[in-house]
């Protein structure tokens, strides 16, 4: 087997195998568990780096196994999948370290890290999936692997959230299955290809194609939290902080958004989508989700809940960029996939740090927290400003391209949506920044964590395993913005993808 064939499989296995081994570990085998986790993380990063290099040189990575008639199980490493794989493996590194620190001395860690690794394997498998059937398989696997993480705490609220999560995601999975089966009955499931493979059927089977598109988008929209299918996301924030971070930044919501990218660009193709008038409903859905999510976020008083509604809004930028159907908007969508991940993971890390160190969960309790935890608050500020779209942080780049893209295809009203959303973002993020830095801190932090003695402002403000990943991702969101113009930025990669997809 040539190495270009084996590499996609190896990337999936590099987290799957450690995950399965972790299940077999006893609770007290702390070092073995950490070693397996880190070995998996670094192996994957190395393999992904290798594939990045290969794809930028024009190599083709393709692995297939026989599965169904007319549809194999295919992994393929193309430019689009690598955008997502790269993001997942990078953030998996940060989140794993964070989770090890976060869950120190808590029960059921083998179960947690086992499913955590399965979740990342499912995400990566989904990113590398080379056709719809493979995508569907990992999409369902992702649901199954994340459910135990959402209910990990076993509290009544966690279980309720878990049930809601399952009801939505399994329902979505069923719709997706129906959509995939419908398309499969028409043409089989060939590999994803730039420009799609359904163009020949537009004349003969318009009804089937529209139906399948609706099924696919509804199925994917559940995970991408498009309204009215977003109800699970704010509830799922009862999960432990690293899980929320992973769910909101990479694994689940991005799986949905990534699926929409795949369906529009590589299954239907841009022209059939326009010919069947499918882009307009999608555009309206995305735009209303953006505004609705922002409005709901403003009403929340719980930090994590506000972040959750902000995710609803921000992830729809990706869908918006796809639905605009233009190369510049596409660049905006693709680059936002990465940028939103970096910023949102930082925000959830910060929320977790506040909650774990000082017991701060609500926005009113954030007064003066910047003096007690200046580094975490600095990271929070960077990420929140990025969400608003302030230059030179990563979020600005995505919004810039989305705005240009909207103008390019003569949808000026989308610009108004972007501006309104930016203003709303400012309305719900700036008070937090203000309270954190400028409001008067309480005399004493009531729920200060007793586990880590001697925490003091600066490098020792919280457990180092919680602080380092936070700073790391905050730095990345800053660098992704500042160095957007260079060849190694997410933006450059997004341009590469768009050049291949749009053939420009």
């Amino acid at each position: 087997m040539a190495w270009t064939t084996a590499l996609p499989l190896a990337i999936v296995l590099s987290s799957l195998v450690p995950g399965l081994l972790i299940f077999a570990l006893r609770e007290d085998q702390h070092w073995q568990r950490t070693a397996l986790n880190l070995a998996g993380v670094f192996t994957k990063l190395l393999l992904v780096a290798l594939m990045l290099y290969g794809v930028s040189r024009g190599l083709v990575f393709h692995f297939s196994l026989p599965f169904l008639p007319d549809s194999e199980l295919v992994f393929q490493g193309d430019a689009l999948s690598l955008q997502f794989v790269g993001l997942s493996s990078l953030l998996w590194l940060a989140t794993t370290i964070y989770a090890i620190g976060y869950l120190e001395d808590s029960p059921l860690r083998s179960r947690f890290f086992g499913y955590f690794s399965l979740c990342v394997s499912a995400t990566v498998g989904l990113a590398l999936a080379g056709n719809l059937v493979t995508f569907l398989l990992f999409y369902e696997l992702l649901t199954l692997a994340t459910f135990p993480l959402v209910v990990h705490r076993g509290t009544p609220e966690a279980l309720r959230a878990g049930r809601v999560y399952l009801a939505y995601t399994l329902g979505g999975g069923t719709l997706l299955l129906m959509g995939v089966a419908l398309l499969h009955s028409l043409t089989g499931s060939p590999d994803f290809m730039p420009g799609g493979y359904l163009a020949p059927l537009v004349e003969s089977h318009p009804a089937s194609l529209v139906m399948a598109f609706a099924l696919l988008i509804l199925g994917l929209g559940v995970k991408a939290a498009l309204i009215p299918l977003h109800g699970w996301l704010p509830q799922a924030m009862v999960a432990p902080a690293p899980v929320s971070a992973l769910l909101h930044a990479v694994a689940v919501v991005k799986a949905g958004a990534f699926g929409i990218l795949r369906v529009v660009y590589d299954v239907y193709g841009i022209e059939p989508v326009q010919a069947l008038y499918l882009d307009q409903p999608l555009l309206w859905l995305a735009a209303s989700t953006i505004i609705y999510g922002s409005l709901k976020a403003m009403q929340q008083q719980d930090i994590k809940k506000r972040l959750a509604y902000s995710t609803v809004s921000q992830v729809s930028y990706i869908t918006l960029g796809v639905a605009l159907i233009g190369p510049l908007a596409a660049i905006g969508a693709l680059v936002h996939l990465v940028h939103q991940g970096l910023m949102k993971v930082t925000l959830f890390f910060c929320a977790g740090n506040f909650a774990e160190t000082l017991g701060v969960h609500r926005i009113q309790e954030m007064n003066g927290i910047g003096r007690r935890m200046p580094l975490t608050m600095a990271a929070f500020t960077i990420a929140a400003l990025g969400m608003i779209g302030a230059p030179p942080i990563a979020g600005f780049i995505s919004k810039w391209y989305l705005g240009l893209g909207a103008l390019q295809v003569d949808h000026a009203w989308v610009l108004a949506v972007l501006v309104a959303s930016g203003l709303l973002n400012a309305v719900y993020f700036l008070p937090l920044i203000y309270r954190g830095w400028f409001a008067q801190p309480p005399d004493q932090w009531h729920h200060e964590n007793r586990r880590w003695k001697k925490t003091r402002p600066g490098w020792r403000e919280t457990h180092w395993m919680l602080l380092v990943p936070t700073l790391f991702t905050a730095l990345l969101s800053l660098l992704a913005g500042i160095f957007a113009g260079t060849d190694i930025s997410p933006l450059a990669w997004a341009r590469l993808i768009v050049a291949r997809e749009f053939g420009a």
Binding site: L68, T174, A207
Partner: protein, 474 residues
């Protein structure tokens, strides 16, 4: 002697021998099942290579003799039956919680195996009657092994089963009166769509549907399957209800006149969808673990009924494949589910679903087996249940006017997911303190996991399996 006949004779001979030698019964049963599995596999290999075989018992001519037919499907079912019996025999012998270790289970399970094997091989309306009677009586006897509390359900089952046999027999008598033959292969050439044939078909179908617990004639099943000992529940759900289904399939797809079949198809398919929804709803509501699993059998048989009904309606060959994939996937998953449920019920000391709270911590392996088997029932890719559903969906999507049926399948999927995850979500709750007599049996739990893993590993051979079944069921 033919390998298929060996596979049939082994359990029957073992059953007779066990009447004489009662000690260490399980060794003989396991050995007989294993050898029967090997010869069934051999027979399957032969029939796939050489095509359909007709076997004449005792060398008599076709009009007088008992004649058996070995087709690839019956070969597959022979091997499947032996495999399930082997798994369940090991469980019944080795589990700490088995209620059947030193009982009449051993000769009875051999008789059950033998009568099923005879059913798969028969092609004669009256032979089927005999095997059905034998199957029903043995099944009732096995339910009573659970002791006096199962007598009510067993008696109910016995009464209905005898009633169903009468219906069937009446239909057979009408057919014999009309055509003068009972052999299906001869009947195929004679049959016409007249009133007496129609009446006979309806009578036989009612009897068979009652025996197979096909909705709406399923009311006896949940009580009977839930009150039986765990090993027996597994056999009943995985195999016994499939016997009458097999006859129903052969009768309608081969004997029944085309017009009649096309008329009956939508009714059967509709009943299938109602079974999926109503059975699933009942499983969602019941407070007892094993009753939940039993209702899930009622619901899953709906998929088979749906495939059969649509098959008759449109005469699409792929639906044969879907039907038999459902039977195989459901059988394996259901064995796993019943064994896991039985283990959890015995270890945690309660029949109620609530007692599974925290089972991921107290009984992780059994709970995982339950969830994995449940995943196949839901039809999550790439399990065996998914393959079946996929094959079923393909022809449904080809034409927009067939889409409502696909909607029915979707409803079924959602209800199945609801009752499976009702249990799984509960298992992630924080565990209650252990009972003092908490005594889990790891071997039995892993044994429950084995068929669940088998049904998921059908994915590894999915493409050849589907293509092969497409070739043999035409």
């Amino acid at each position: 002697m033919n390998l298929a006949l060996i596979s049939l004779a082994l359990p029957l001979v073992t059953a007779l021998l066990l009447m004489l030698f009662r000690s260490r019964g399980w060794v003989w049963v396991a050995l007989a099942s294993l050898l029967s599995l090997v010869s069934a596999a051999g027979a399957l290999y032969e029939v796939v290579g050489g095509g359909r075989q007709l076997l004449y018992l005792g060398g008599w001519d076709s009009a007088l003799a008992i004649r058996f037919q070995l087709t690839p499907v019956s070969g597959l079912l022979l091997a499947f039956t032996a495999l399930i019996h082997l798994l369940v025999a090991i469980y019944a012998a080795r589990s700490h919680h088995s209620q059947t270790r030193d009982s009449d289970y051993w000769p009875l399970s051999c008789l059950l195996h033998g009568s099923l094997a005879a059913l798969w091989l028969s092609v004669d309306l009256f032979n089927w009657y005999v095997t059905l009677e034998l199957l029903g009586l043995v099944a009732v006897a096995m339910i009573t092994l659970a002791g006096p509390k199962a007598y009510g359900a067993a008696l109910n089952y016995l009464t209905l089963s005898l009633g169903a046999s009468l219906f069937y027999l009446l239909g057979v008598a009408l057919m014999y009166g009309r055509y003068g033959v009972l052999d299906v292969l001869l009947l195929v050439e004679l049959v016409e769509a007249d009133n007496s044939t129609r009446t006979a078909m309806i009578l036989m179908s009612l009897g068979l549907m009652l025996k197979a617990a096909l909705w709406p004639l399923h009311q006896w099943l949940p009580a009977a399957h839930a009150s039986a000992p765990t090993a027996v529940s597994a056999l009943l759900s995985a195999l016994v209800v499939k016997g009458p289904l097999f006859i129903l399939w052969l009768l309608w797809s081969q004997v029944a006149p085309r017009e009649l079949a096309a008329q009956a198809g939508p009714i059967l398919a509709m009943a299938g969808i109602l079974a999926l929804v109503a059975g699933g709803w009942a499983a969602l509501r019941t407070p007892y673990i094993k009753t939940l699993v039993a209702y899930s059998t009622v619901a899953q048989l709906g998929y088979a009924l749906l495939a059969l009904g649509l098959l008759l309606h449109w005469q699409i060959a792929e639906l044969h494949v879907a039907l038999w994939l459902f039977v195989l996937a459901h059988g394996l998953a259901k064995v796993s589910m019943f064994l896991a449920a039985g283990e959890m019920q015995a270890t945690l000391g309660s029949r109620r679903v609530d007692s599974l709270k925290g089972a991921t911590q107290t009984m992780p392996v059994a709970m995982f087996a339950f969830a994995v088997a449940g995943g196949s029932l839901i039809g999550l890719p790439p399990s065996g249940g998914f393959l079946a559903k996929w094959v079923l969906l393909q022809p449904l999507f080809l034409e927009p006017r067939h889409w409502p049926w696909a909607f029915g399948v979707m409803l079924g999927t959602l209800v199945t997911a609801a009752y499976v995850f009702r249990v799984v979500a509960l298992a992630f709750d924080r565990a209650r303190p252990m009972r003092p007599d908490y005594h889990p049996d790891p071997f039995a739990q892993w044994l429950a996991m084995l068929p669940a893993l088998l049904v998921w590993s059908m994915a590894l051979i999915s493409e050849p399996l589907i293509l092969w079944l497409t070739g043999v069921t035409d």
